[in-house]
Subunit: 361 residues, 2 copies
C-alpha cells in the first residue's frame, strides 16, 4: 500500500464518521501517513490538504522524508494556534482528534484554540485500524525481519553457557543483531534464567545461567521502522520431568492457537483455544497475560489477542502467538512466534526450532 | 531523598491543591514514587494509602521492587473499576489526575468510572515538579553516569576515521557503552557527518565520515533508571576557517550560558544569554531549538531552558546546556554538557574536552 493509498483509506474512514479533518498526534501514525520519522510532530489531514507540523530541528529532515504534505515549522507552544489558522483557511467544520493519543492537557489546548472555528470530536484509533492490515511491501519487510530474528537467535544459542549472566547474554544478542544488519532492538530484551523466568516481563539482570533450569529469551529487532518479536525457552543441563511437562503443554497450546487462526475468526476465540487447553491441563492460574498482539511499526499494536478483544482477524494482519506458563519459585516457559493471517489459515513467519529436544542446551 | 520523602513532598503539593488523592499514570512518575520498573502500571496516592495497580505479568516483580504500597493485579480494562472501588473505600472526594500524562480516552473512562464517587481534577505535573530537584543520591548517580559518558566518548574518539559510516560509529559507541557498564543507550545516538550535522536531530545513517567536514556526536547512557546526555562536534582532516568561526561562537555561547546558571535565575534568561550571543555574531537564523532541558529519569524533563520557559532554576536541578549553529548544505556544530545547578553557580558534570583544538581529529 503506497502512502497515497493509506491516505485515501483514512479519508474514507473520516467521511464515514462525518469528519472533514483529523488531527494526528501519534508518532507512529504520523510516520505511517507522512513518512516523517522525527521525534516531535503533528499532522492535519483533510480532503483538501495535508499539513505536517514540525519544529525547527527537523526542517531539513522533513523535506527529505515527506511528500504531498505542506511542512510547517512551529514551536511546541505555537502548535495549536498554527492549527487554528489552517483549520480556518480550510474551512474545517468537524475535526477529529486521536482520543487515545492526545493527553487531556493537550485536548484542553486544542479545544481552546479551535473554539468558534470548528467542532472537535474524539475519534477512535483510525490510522491504527488501517495499519492492522499490512500491505504486500510491509509483509515482505516483516518476513525478512522474522528471518533475521531467527538467525540472530540461532547464532546466540551457540554462545549460551552456564555461568554467564543474563545481562551478558542480552548484550551478546544485541551485538549479534546489529552485526546482522538490524537498526537496533525493538524493546529491552528479556533474558530470564531459572526462577526469574516466572516473571513474564522480567528484564535481564545479573542472574547467572545455571544448569538444571529454564532460560527464557524474548527479544525483537527493529529495522526501517518495523519490529519483530520472538520468544524461545531453553533448558540448560539435565532436563527435569517438570520442564518437559510444562513445555509440552505450552507448545501444544501454541499450536492449537495457530491452527485456529484465519481471516474472519475472532481474536478472543484464538486466545480461548490456547487458554482453555492450558487450564484443562491444570495450569489455570499460570497464564495471566494476553495470547498475543499485532506488530508492525509498533511492537504492540492492534489486533489484540486476548479474552476481551473485539478484533476480528483479517487477511494481512501480522500478530504474535505467545502462550506461557509461569510458576513462582521455579520458572516459566513461553513460546512466541510471529504469524501472518491468511484467507484460509496462517503462515508462521518465525521459524526457530521449537520441539522439546530443540530447547535442550 | 528516600522514597518516603518523595511521597511526603507529593502529599504536601496535593494538600495545597486541596486534593485528597492523585491518580498517577506516567510510568517514570510511578517508578519515582513507588520503585516499580515495569512497562504497565498505575498508582493511587492518598494520605491514608498508596496503591499500585499492575497486571499479572508483573506480580512477582512488583513484590520485589515495591514497599509501602498495596499491590493490586488488574487487567487493563478493569483498572478504572478497581480504582473506583478504592476511591470509595478511602472516601476520596477530590481526586487529581495527571492531565499531561492521561490520554483523553482514558480521561473519559476515569470520569465515567468515578461518577458519583468523587470529583476529578486535572492536576499540573506535580511529581515532575518534585523530580526536578535531585536528591544527593540522585546527583551522585548522575555524576557517575556523566563520568562514564565522558569515558565512552573518549574511547570512541580514538576509533574515528574517515571512510567509516555513521551507523558503524554509532554501533561502536553503543558497544563501548555496554562494556563500560551502562544498561544501554538513553536515546538513539546521533552520529551526523558533513552536511547531515545541519539536522539537529539526525539519526545515524549510511553517510560516511569524510575529511574536511564536521562530525557531530550526541548520545547518552542509561543506567539504573537514570540518563545522561552529551554532545561534542569534531572536525576530520584539514580544518576550515568556517568551522573554526562557527565552533568558537557556539563554545562562547555555551560558556556564557553556563556562567549565567545559578539558583534563582530564570531558565529563559539562561537561554537568552546563549541565543543573544549567537544572534549578535550573525547566526540569528541558525539556532532554532531550545538551549537545554532537565534530565534524570527521563532524557527530557523539567526544567525547560528555552525562550518560553517559566521555570526558575534551583539548587539540585540537573540540566543540559546545548547551543548549536546549523547551516544547511554545510553542517552544524553543537556542544552539550550536563550541568548541576548550585546556590551560587553550577558544576559542569560532563568533562569531555571541548576546546577547538580538542575537536580536531
Amino acid at each position: 500500500m503506497a502512502r497515497s493509498e493509506r491516505l485515501k483509506n483514512l479519508l474514507v474512514l473520516l467521511e464515514r464518521l462525518r469528519l472533514d479533518g483529523l488531527f494526528i498526534s501519534s508518532l507512529p501514525n504520523i510516520r505511517y501517513i507522512s513518512g516523517f520519522t522525527g521525534s516531535w510532530a503533528a499532522c492535519l489531514v483533510s480532503p483538501r490538504r495535508r499539513i505536517l507540523f514540525i519544529d525547527s530541528r527537523y526542517q531539513l529532515q522533513a523535506e527529505r522524508e515527506v511528500e504531498g504534505f505542506r511542512i510547517l515549522t512551529v514551536t511546541s507552544s505555537g502548535l495549536f494556534s498554527a492549527l487554528c489558522v489552517h483549520a480556518r483557511t480550510l474551512r474545517l467544520r468537524e475535526l477529529g482528534f486521536e482520543a487515545h493519543a492526545l493527553s487531556y492537557a493537550s485536548y484542553q489546548l486544542l479545544k481552546r484554540a479551535l473554539k468558534g472555528v470548528c467542532s472537535i470530536h474524539a475519534a477512535p484509533p483510525l490510522v491504527e485500524k488501517i495499519r492492522m492490515v499490512k500491505s504486500r511491501e510491509e509483509i515482505l519487510r516483516l518476513k525478512k525481519l522474522a528471518h533475521m530474528t531467527d538467525a540472530v537467535l540461532s547464532q546466540c544459542r551457540g554462545h549460551v553457557s552456564a555461568g554467564m549472566t543474563e545481562r551478558e547474554l542480552g548484550a551478546l544478542l544485541e551485538s549479534i543483531a546489529r552485526d546482522a544488519g538490524a537498526d537496533g532492538i525493538a524493546f529491552p530484551s528479556i533474558v530470564a534464567s531459572g526462577s526469574n523466568s516466572a516473571m513474564p516481563h522480567y528484564r535481564s539482570g545479573g542472574g547467572r545461567l545455571r544448569n538444571g533450569s529454564p532460560l527464557l529469551i524474548d527479544f525483537g529487532l527493529a529495522q526501517g521502522g518495523y519490529n519483530s518479536d520472538l520468544t524461545r525457552t531453553f533448558h540448560l543441563g539435565r532436563v527435569t520431568r517438570r520442564y518437559r511437562g510444562v513445555y509440552e503443554v505450552v507448545l501444544e497450546a501454541q499450536q492449537l492457537a495457530v491452527q485456529a487462526i484465519k481471516a474472519g475468526v475472532a481474536a478472543s476465540v484464538v486466545d480461548f483455544c490456547a487458554r482453555d487447553y492450558i487450564s484443562s491441563r491444570g495450569f489455570q492460574h499460570c497464564f495471566g497475560h494476553s495470547l498475543g498482539h499485532g506488530l508492525g511499526m509498533e511492537v504492540h499494536e492492534a489486533p489484540r489477542l486476548n479474552r476481551d478483544s473485539d478484533d476480528i482477524l483479517d487477511e494481512g494482519m501480522v500478530c504474535t502467538v505467545e502462550p506461557g506458563i509461569y510458576i513462582p519459585g521455579w520458572g516459566g516457559v513461553r513460546i512466541e512466534d510471529m504469524v501472518l493471517v491468511e484467507r484460509d489459515g496462517c503462515s508462521v513467519l518465525t521459524a526457530s526450532p521449537k520441539g522439546i529436544e530443540d530447547s535442550l542446551l
